[in-house]
């Protein structure tokens, strides 16, 4: 085998330009795949962060039937204690209880339905980026009773400005009576998410409990998890730690299954794209190998005539392909790593913050990420496909008879 590899190496160095161009073809394919993989990872990361850190959190705790209809009647008692217990689970960074009620929000000019969240600003800032979404006005004070933050699209709809009055109409949980509460707009929020900007409002945690006439209770506890930790393991630990409480504890992938599906499809899509890309690269490679073989027909005839077995000739061509694949992969690794490094540093901004993907606005640059797959799985895939592409030319060479090979060359 060593002699075959040596011969293969010398053969591909016969025409250095062609070999270089073929390696460049293979390497470019790998570099593209690496870059796209890095871009998809960056996009996934951005999407997950956008989904989780904007408002959702990495996990949430609810009463078992709450999420079916977002019915405030399914609440958790002693929410503060539950939040404290959740924070004791290793890997959980913070837990923020929230009240939630759906109701009518009206101004002197208009009215709309919406979700009114009661939040504790001091704890909320460790779980979500609500304060970063504030574009005008002031964040709700910890014990504010009548301050309300609304999405900027809601403000347009209600035709209100900062300081204007808003009436929230909701059902008190225990009595079942309709109650109205007066608030004053303290600020506008911009999430760059259509649904959130037009249908969410925020009051203080205390105001929320008063609105529902339910002291100490909350409908939701949002959880933030250490970014270095295994999210699924932490959620499992939360379930285990709080199993005595009959709660539903879900990770973001269960709370936003459409995003999780998109991410899974992205990975599948990458391999499909890799296959298609390499079918195209293979066609170029097959052409290059056939040219090389046709030029050497007579030489193959001589080798076969001397007693070289067809299998050895087949192996020789495959080794030539493998060497080209390996060199091409090395070239591609360098190019791909550089491209990813550049994008990891400077990022790629899609459409200056106006592009949307899967319902999320891409308002910040996407930064490529490196992964082990880019340096192991993808190059191995490339080398394997390169060798597979050489099988057809190798079979052609192996099927030659000595006289036929010498005749064709003439």
């Amino acid at each position: 085998m060593g002699s075959n590899i040596r011969l293969a190496l010398r053969n591909i160095l016969r025409n250095k330009r062609r070999t270089f161009l073929t390696c460049l073809l293979v390497g470019s394919g790998l570099a593209i795949l690496m870059f796209v993989d890095g871009l998809m990872l960056g996009m996934s990361d951005m999407m997950i962060r956008k989904v989780t850190s904007t408002w959702l959190g990495e996990a949430q705790i609810h009463a078992p039937q709450f999420r079916r209809d977002l019915d405030a009647a399914f609440y958790m008692e002693k929410a503060d204690e539950l939040a404290r217990r959740a924070e004791e689970v290793p890997g959980v960074e913070a837990a923020a209880p929230r009240t939630l009620v759906t109701g009518m929000i009206s101004s002197s000019g208009n009215a709309t339905g919406g979700a009114i969240y009661g939040i504790d600003p001091a704890r909320e800032k460790h779980v979500s980026r609500l304060n970063e979404a504030l574009v005008e006005g002031e964040m709700i004070a910890q014990d504010a009773r009548q301050d309300i933050l609304i999405g900027y699209k809601m403000a347009d709809l209600l035709d209100v400005e900062i300081g204007d009055r808003i009436v929230v109409t909701a059902t008190e949980l225990l009595s079942g009576e309709i109650a109205q509460s007066l608030f004053f707009v303290s600020g506008y929020l911009r999430f760059n998410d259509r649904a959130m900007d037009s249908s969410m409002a925020f009051i203080s945690y205390a105001a929320g409990q008063k609105l529902l006439a339910l002291p100490g209770a909350a409908q939701e506890i949002a959880i933030s998890i250490d970014p270095e930790a295994d999210e699924k393991a932490i959620v499992a630990n939360l379930n285990s730690s709080l199993k005595d409480q009959n709660l539903e504890i879900l990770g973001w992938w269960e709370l936003a299954p459409d995003i999780a599906s998109i991410l899974a499809m992205q990975e599948f899509g990458l391999w499909i794209m890799a296959l298609i890309l390499f079918i195209l690269v293979s066609l170029g490679l097959i052409n290059s190998m056939f040219m090389s073989i046709f030029e050497r027909h007579y030489e193959f005839g001589v080798m076969l005539g001397l007693g070289t077995r067809s299998s050895k000739l087949f192996s020789l061509i495959c080794w030539e392909g493998a060497l080209i694949g390996m060199w091409g992969a090395a070239l591609g690794l360098g190019m791909g790593a550089l491209a990813n490094a550049w994008s990891a540093r400077y990022g790629i901004l899609f459409g200056k913050g106006t592009s949307e993907f899967a319902g999320l606005t891409l308002s910040e640059p996407v930064f490529n990420q490196f992964s082990i797959t880019q340096f192991t799985g993808l190059p191995a895939f490339v080398v394997l496909l390169t060798v597979l592409a050489c099988i057809i030319p190798a079979i052609h060479a192996a099927r030659l008879t000595p006289s036929e090979a010498m005749r064709r060359a003439i």
């Binding site: 011969l7 016969r14 080798m303 001397l306 007693g307 070289t308 067809s310 006289s403």
Partner: protein, 228 residues
């Protein structure tokens, strides 16, 4: 004398029907061990075809070839490859050598196929190159050698496997007369010293003069068979 090459009603056709060409037409031939035989004839007479069929480089359309009593025309491809490797040496008209191998490596190539140990290959290759006067060219590639030198390396390679038969297809066609004569004399010497059977396909009168036997082909048939 032992018959080492035997053909029985050996034929080779190309094409079919109205466009069939009979390159060889029922040739019966016997060559004894140690003979220095030249197959001669005009272009298109079937010389190269006969040589290729004898050497197992091609399959006959009909008839049989026996080498050392073995029916090579019916051998499976892999067995035929191995038989060629171990019993037949080839010298082609041109482009004999593997261009990316040095002279020594070209000579070693057959021994590599025979899976001989490295030290043995090296020693024998150098000895044979010395016998053809090319020891100093051992590390040169074919592109760095003249046509005559390349053919001498081809002869060295053919001898390296210690074959019983050497088949040479127009080995002097691309050489000047002096170089060609030297090459033929070298092969004649090997024939006489080692008893290796040589069969040439040739137009070269120098080979014809030195051959002990002349087999003349015309239109794929033997028209004359002269022992000189």
């Amino acid at each position: 004398m032992t018959v080492i090459i035997k053909t029985e009603k050996l034929s080779r056709h190309y094409g079919k029907g109205n466009v069939m060409v009979k390159a060889l037409d029922e040739v019966d031939l016997e060559i004894d061990q140690g003979e220095f035989t030249a197959i001669v004839g005009p272009s298109g007479s079937g010389k190269t075809t006969l040589l290729q069929l004898i050497g197992g480089l091609d399959r006959p359309s009909s008839g049989d070839v026996y080498l050392k009593g073995t029916k090579v025309s019916a051998m499976a491809p892999r067995a035929l490859s191995d038989f060629r490797r171990d019993h037949i040496g080839f010298i082609f008209q041109a482009f004999n050598l593997i261009p990316v191998l040095t002279a020594k490596e070209n000579v070693e190539y057959i021994m590599l196929l025979q899976e001989r140990p490295r030290a043995e290959r090296h020693e024998k290759a150098m000895a044979i190159l010395e016998s053809v006067g090319l020891k100093d060219m051992a590390d040169r590639r074919p592109s760095e050698m003249s046509g005559g030198q390349q053919q001498r390396v081809a002869v060295a390679r053919a001898l390296a496997s210690e074959p019983d038969i050497i088949l040479a297809d127009e080995p002097t066609a691309n050489l000047d007369s002096k170089t060609g004569a030297e090459l033929i004399d070298m092969m004649k010497e090997f024939n006489e010293k080692n008893g290796v059977t040589f069969v040439f396909s040739t137009h070269d009168t120098k080979i014809m003069e030195r051959a002990k036997r002349l087999v003349r082909l015309v239109d794929g048939r033997i028209s004359e068979d002269i022992r000189q």
